[in-house]
């Protein structure tokens, strides 16, 4: 079974984010593998293992031919990657991104299952997986917290407001997974060394047959009119607990009339 995993490479979330002059997220520094996608990579490796054959292909769209995040996922055990990098893709919104990823999945060929995270850490649109599925005309099992493959079908536990649903579809299909679905492995030293020589197929938008009007800024069809800091909430009183903390809390609750 061949699994493609969409992996986003993002600025390190531990570093405060910033915007470029054109109001897009500043992605000029080093990018890393979005932690949310490490679950998809791990899931894919486990599913291919369980199927007893096949391989994991990574799909990523990132500026400046960034490969750091891909190398992390390759070191975990993915076989190869397709990297779409093209200045024409700057400013791409979720729909443009999905078009690029869907075309890349077609380019990979012979894919039975596509995994993505429910939402990326920096963009958190959370629509890309369903958009990819519609572009490919595949079923999509979104918000999955458990995934298994049997008899040519994929079965998941899909998160709902009230609990979860068991949902099934035939392959090929798109599945989006929530954080914590599996425990991502740490790349071994051997894995890190091997990753250096694994193939990364670098392509542009036009290699995928996409025109500039469909993607990037033009595709997004919107204009950012204002950017400002959110108003900060005023801090109130703070007390060191000297044994009277609980009493202070009770007094506050009484004042609010919640007790």
């Amino acid at each position: 079974m061949n699994v493609a995993v969409c992996v986003k490479q993002i600025p390190d979330p531990a570093v405060p984010g910033s915007l470029s002059a054109d109001h897009t997220l500043d992605r000029s520094g080093k990018l890393i593998l979005d932690e949310s996608d490490s679950y998809g990579v791990e899931m894919a490796l486990q599913l291919v293992d369980a199927a007893g054959g096949g391989e994991v292909t990574l799909i990523s769209m990132a500026p400046n031919e960034e490969v750091s995040g891909l190398r992390t996922a390759l070191a975990m055990g993915a076989a190869k990657a397709i990297l779409v990098s093209d200045p024409a893709l700057a400013g791409s919104d979720a729909l443009s991104t999905a078009k690029v990823l869907a075309k890349s999945i077609e380019r990979a060929g012979d894919i039975d299952l596509v995994l993505a995270a429910t939402e990326s850490s920096d963009g958190y649109t959370g629509t890309v997986p369903a958009q990819i599925a519609q572009l490919l005309d595949w079923p999509a099992l979104t918000f999955s917290k458990h995934v298994e493959i049997a008899d040519g079908k994929v079965k998941v536990q899909r998160q709902t407001e009230a609990g979860y649903d068991e949902v099934e579809a035939s392959l090929p299909a798109v599945v989006s997974v929530t954080a914590g679905v599996v425990e991502p492995r740490y790349p071994s030293f051997k894995g890190i060394m091997a990753a250096k020589n694994k193939p990364v197929d670098k392509v542009t938008a036009s290699d995928l047959g996409l025109e500039a009007s469909q993607v990037g800024w033009e595709g997004a069809r919107q204009e950012i009119t204002n950017v400002e800091q959110a108003p900060a909430r005023q801090a109130g009183e703070k007390f060191e607990d000297d044994g009277t903390g609980a009493e202070k809390l009770v007094a506050f609750l009484e004042q609010l009339k919640v007790v």
Partner: protein, 320 residues
Amino acid sequence: MKVWVFAEATDDKVTTATLELLTKAREIGSEVEAIYSGSGDTAAIAATVGSYGATKLHTMDPGDGLPGQVAAAPIAALVGTDNPDVILFAQTYDGRDALGRLSVRLDKPVLTNGMSLSVDGDSLLFGTAIFGGVVLVDVKLKDAAPALIAIRPKSFAAEESGGSAAEVVPLPAADSGRAAEARVLARHVEEQQGPKLEEATVVVSGGRGIGAAENYEPLVEELAKLLKGAWGASRAIVDAGWVPYALQVGQTGKTVKPKLYIALGISGATQHLVGMKNSDNIVAVNKDGEAPIFSVADLGIVGDVHKVVPALIELLKAKS
């Protein structure tokens, strides 16, 4: 402006997020209609959406298909004949499914995580927050109608208009393609006690500072129950498997806006704050006086949750 709302319901009860969207739709639009994909009682749903201003309720029963995903094809067909200006979705599981599929069918961009929405002349102004809620961004749409927009729950207040029941109009069947192949085999409802997280007047949340999974019930749940509130969590303890995902508050969890939010052993990362900082009052207990949660707390106690919370529970029990 003609505004549609993708309505959601649990059993026959329309979700609060839907009512918030309908209220906003009335404010920005002259015509408001709702679309419902589900197996609930359409008469009951039509009565509720009507009392929030919708004149029509377009309905479809997805059977065992995923309600958001199989709704996209019939909605796309209806867009072609009825030409709405805006379609609003809640930033929920099914809302995002419907939005994603519809955007491809219509080849329209999506705006997501909306927190404000207004009309400026002929164009729509959409507001969202990035970097975990610390930077606000306003966006003007430059595209032909309809605008496809997802809004975070709790961004707007829900207010009734007192309208009569919406007219129920079944959506003509449409071919959903392979989207219809995803089938729900079984539903599992995890028993929920007490008020819902998004609707409670008091929310008590626990973070990694409570120390262990087994401390959640005696500290967090117990206090929440005494205050007739709901209990929530930071992502750290959801990822650790201490509590289910449904309890997560924050950027990738729920947005809450109670009268009182109590954070126990939560550091106050921006991604957590974005889900609760619009609460009327915030109380924090954390042993680190420098924890960022104190920068938003109206009352902060620098102390150990294992001392402060049991003492508080004792005092509250003594009072009742």
